[in-house]
């Protein structure tokens, strides 16, 4: 369990993010075409996982656009934006915002990803969704960097995430 804040009020996650140096847990998430996607689908690339509670909220939208810009110039990196939004909402957002360089993945089928990555919120108005977190994985799925956003309404640390991708 980890402590974060939502608009200044304490909130709690179900567990801890995977540790730096550990192998990232595999996952099954749902892509825009409703197909199942696992971590193994991106083997051989560096991955940036941007975990957000909803693309229809301001900070999540801003970070997704920022990571989309970063991904544009990095053929060796895949940016995975993971949220509890249904794939239909993710596709609507990306279409409206011209976001084409990230892969959006949905927890529509279950919250196993949120539990396995320790980011499921167990209380607060966002209970059932996820805390804000960023992970960088290497080509072999080893965790190089992770940040759990201490205040859910604040953007992630882009500089440190980018440094970890170098």
């Amino acid at each position: 369990m980890a402590d974060v804040l939502f608009k200044g009020t304490p909130a709690h996650t179900s567990g801890e993010l995977p540790k730096v140096g550990s192998k990232a847990p595999d996952f099954k998430l749902t892509a825009g075409d409703l197909s199942e996607v696992s971590l193994a689908n991106f083997k051989g690339k560096k991955k940036l996982l941007s975990i957000v509670h909803s693309l229809d909220t301001g900070v999540c939208a801003a970070s997704t656009k920022r990571f989309n810009d970063i991904a544009k110039n990095r053929a060796d990196v895949v940016v995975l934006v993971v949220s509890c939004d249904l794939p239909f909402a993710q596709a609507r957002f990306c279409g409206a915002e011209g976001v084409k360089n990230v892969v959006t993945l949905s927890m529509m089928r279950d919250r196993h990803f949120a539990k396995d990555y320790g980011v499921l919120l167990t209380d607060s108005p966002l209970a059932g969704l996820t805390a804000r977190a960023t992970l960088v994985l290497d080509e072999n799925d080893k965790v190089l960097y992770m940040q759990l956003g201490p205040e859910i309404t604040v953007e992630p640390d882009y500089d440190r995430a980018l440094a970890a991708l170098k």
């Binding site: 749902t30 409703l34 229809d56």
Partner: protein, 166 residues
């Protein structure tokens, strides 16, 4: 378990809709302000639940507009859209489409509603979200009408549902 189809392919729900004449199961769902709402909050009123897979897909959007038109002319009618969309997506739809006469409630926290009302899909492209269904509940929470739409892409029977609400 009930057999229906999605785009002509067989899919299965976890259970059966509550039987006409039975007491509607209580529920905990989440409104646009991220507040939890239960069936008891609408006691003393007739309610129509329009249950669907996602407000960001065409048939669900169409049914929301149609029920909103009715609700605009019948200010005492309680017509509630229930889906696995996050409240942010439901709100986005209602503000873009100006459908403020119906209520929207989300299964963001869990799928208990979907299980208790027997509409959770166990397989197919929409596994993890719900079939399309209508449940009309009277002032004392007794079920007076139900429809499980046999093909998910089809619209519900509006005339019958609204007649039951009168």
């Amino acid at each position: 378990m009930t057999n229906i189809t999605h785009r002509g392919n067989p899919v299965h729900t976890i259970g059966e809709l509550p039987a006409v004449g039975s007491r509607a199961p209580d529920f905990r769902l989440t409104d646009a302000n991220l507040h939890d709402v239960s069936l008891a909050d609408f006691r003393g009123k007739k309610k129509l639940l329009n249950i669907f897979p996602s407000i960001d897909t065409p048939t669900c959007a169409l049914s929301t507009r149609k029920f909103n038109e009715y609700a605009a002319k019948h200010p005492n009618a309680v017509i509630i859209m229930v889906s696995a969309d996050l409240p942010f997506a439901q709100q986005h739809f209602c503000s873009v489409e100006n459908t403020h006469n119906v209520k929207t409630l989300s299964m963001m926290r869990d799928r208990n509603f979907a299980k208790d009302y027997g509409v959770l899909l166990l397989d197919g492209l929409y596994q993890g979200i719900t079939a399309r269904a209508i449940v009309v509940i009277d002032e004392n929470d007794k079920v007076v009408y139900t429809e499980l739409v046999p093909e998910i892409r089809q619209e519900p029977n509006y005339d019958k549902a609204l007649a039951a609400l009168k």
